[in-house]
Symmetry: C3
Subunit: 335 residues, 3 copies
């Protein structure tokens, strides 16, 4: 039995096989991998798109999804071993995960970090606790990485660019009124490097470097593939000759939970919106952003409305890749 917590745990051929299967689902949606089976979708944070695509995908595979809305309770369960539970949590993850495993065949979880203490939160403690105690496979619907989004992105990139190996992938920080989770940025780094792209990280200042865990994983993947990871604060350098541009905004980790002090660094990226002038520097590059996406703040209308934009395809692919992931996990679990 395997979980789907991060693409770090899966080989490129395994991930490619899921993407290939997803393309078959795009043409022929029905399947029976979940016939007579149930899937719990646990949301500790809001979701419309992830919820819809998982719910529909489960149904198309013949199964039944139970949506469990745990919003408002950031830590609804105790996860510490041996805790004397006289605080807020009424239940330990040991019981929650074991009982849910008696009811369902897969558990999918969305739990964003709390934006309080990155040292603790970079360990992704809640989903890891569920994975430790569940007796059925656990799927990550976005925590500090977003592996389902990664496969959806790579599927869209391959559809547009063909073989992506050796192509230039720019991950650019873009403006946003608030500091956001690094999950999608971490994930973009991971998947582009794992699939052998040259990865450029464009940030307004060095404080926006992503966590060392993901930077070093991406370096290792690039080294294995013979490609390069580069970091720049110069938009011209970042965009020049790129084949794919991916926008994302995030909060600088040195100021995690103490965001006021980040403001002057954030101001350095005021001009980082993806627009026609920057796209003109690319090699007829495609461009995307996970959704939701603020128009004319992160990406200009003219770019979103151009043929280069593949964000709608990427979002649609979520449905297809998630079905492939569930089918694979059920098969591995021998159920």
């Amino acid at each position: 039995m395997r979980h789907f917590l991060s693409t770090e745990d899966w080989s490129r051929p395994d991930l490619q096989a899921m993407i290939d299967r997803a393309r078959l689902f795009r043409d022929s949606p029905a399947g029976d991998a979940l016939k007579g089976k149930s899937v719990a979708l646990m949301f500790f944070n809001p979701s419309l798109r992830t919820r819809s695509s998982f719910d529909i995908g489960v149904h198309q595979l013949g199964g039944h999804a139970v949506v469990l809305d745990a919003r408002g309770q950031t830590w609804p369960v105790e996860i510490e071993e041996g805790a004397v539970m006289d605080g807020e949590p009424e239940e330990h993850v040991k019981e929650a995960a074991r009982v849910l495993s008696r009811y369902v065949d897969l558990i999918a979880i969305r739990c964003f970090p709390k934006f309080q203490d990155w040292t603790a939160e970079r360990e992704d403690p809640l989903i890891m606790a569920y994975a430790r105690h569940a007796t059925v496979p656990v799927i990550n619907m976005e925590t500090i990485v977003h592996p389902c989004q990664e496969l959806a992105l790579m599927m869209a990139l391959q559809d547009r660019l063909g073989d992506v190996r050796g192509k230039d992938f720019l991950l650019t920080w873009v403006p946003h009124p608030k500091p956001l989770n690094t999950a999608v940025a971490n994930s973009a780094l991971l998947i582009a490097s794992k699939f052998g792209m040259n990865v450029r990280l464009l940030i307004p200042d060095e404080v926006y470097r992503l966590d060392e865990r993901y930077m070093s994983a991406a370096e290792r993947f690039c080294a294995e593939a013979g490609s390069r990871l580069t970091v720049t604060t110069d938009p011209e350098e970042g965009y020049s000759g790129a084949h794919a541009v991916y926008g994302k905004s995030w909060g600088a980790l040195p100021f995690y939970g103490n965001w006021d002090a980040e403001a002057p660094f954030r101001a350095k990226g005021a001009g980082f919106m993806i627009d026609d002038a920057k796209m003109a520097l690319t090699d007829a590059g495609v461009v995307s952003h996970c959704l939701p996406m603020r128009r004319n703040v992160k990406i200009a209308d003219s770019v979103v409305d151009s043929d280069a934009f593949l964000g709608i395809e990427e979002a649609e692919n979520r449905l297809h890749v998630q079905k492939a992931i569930m089918e694979r996990l059920i098969a591995d679990a021998g159920q």
Copy 2:
């Protein structure tokens, strides 16, 4: 491809065909119009009955409903073209509608007006924006009109009265502690006039006239059918000889968003509850009210518990007519 946004957009024969189909569904609930298909039910406002009847109806047609609860976010998406999205909305309706259209085959939306600015809200901007950008049919589950309720009411009236043409339909304002949405009142005007009834609007004061858009549509429908639309503030005139009485409370549009000033006009309707004495003036009339309904405030217990009350049938009919609507839209979309 057609949307079901308002009965204004549909001919009487089309609407009658849906009601006739609904009667067949009442006798034989199963269908396959939604086999292998999914429907998004988006609620920007609470609902138990609409949610239940749509969810069950989709299932009975072989499909899968995804309930998306957007409560608490009155305008969760940006709807202005070209907006620089540096405010609250994280997403533009263009992306929301296009992506949802990739996942589902129908989108049903409930979004009540915000009670702030009728000049803007009478354009029904949110559902209109979804309809503009969605690539699948959109169904109105109540905005500033409530077309599903209209068909359920007309089905119940025909079941009781036979051919309704030329019969007298009284829409009477009734008391309620708070100013309410005009949607169901607008809808009662539209459907009764479209089906050729003589329509009487009974209100405590001229300030309770409904929006000109609906008043003039009803006048036009009556003219086409050879029936009459009349407005009165005299209960005796309103009830005398009526064949059907429909109760509804609403806020006076001249005081929209500024309700304190409406109080003295509202006080004029203190005696407008539907009771036995008023019903005795009718021509053995039937009576109804959409649900929820405050007993002994809007309608007296003795009236609700009499055989003349058809509100339970009307509520049941919601299930049947909505299935007919969905079946029709899917057929028209050629899916």
Copy 3:
């Protein structure tokens, strides 16, 4: 047509038949009792486990569950006959129950007491009103009793102990930071006595006696079975020789809605956590607690993690017994 509101209304053979059927469902989950049927799951209070197990159970029986979340509205409907509804409730239970009965084939309800006035709340007014006006069977998903949990517990006890008649069942109050609902404690009393166990109630003080309605029912059931109901405040007396220990915390009824004054009595139970020393006094007893359960406050880790703990089985059994209950009610309703 019968409701499933409390095990008080059902004979031991009837309940045993449901447990026996549940064991068959454990081995072979699929059924068709709900084919083409719908079930409303109404939650006036939060739930993850009850919601999951009912939703999945309905699906496994071929039906469709509609989850209606009425949280935040403790009394969303008026239940008084003849009320002039000028307060908060927008709807009378008469309409709510009748309309829902037109849409679905079963109505399951969770509504906890409001912790305001036990004299009124001990009558379980909301679910009783739904049962009075619904035209389909109503199932109790926890109000002031929790009959589904009772069957799940008895099934687990029989699986471990075989015939439970004449065996010693200890219901012990355990610590918790807050005063809780007595429902599960009432239910443990009812089911253990109905199935002929000797029942011991261990409480920190006489103020923790359960409501006379349940105390006298348990006495009557014990008398019929030739077993005994005893009450003690001495843990050694309670645990000595017990075959089964069931932990639960609850608020003392004399202080209902006025909890500050309960604190000194609650302090007397500070040492009532179920731990190894107490379990050593039993006759190799099994131990359980409904979930959620605070580790190291109500039950020590070492007890929960021992083979004696059957709480996970009990939780799993919820799925199985609820399917047996629904199948029985549908059969009785002749649908």
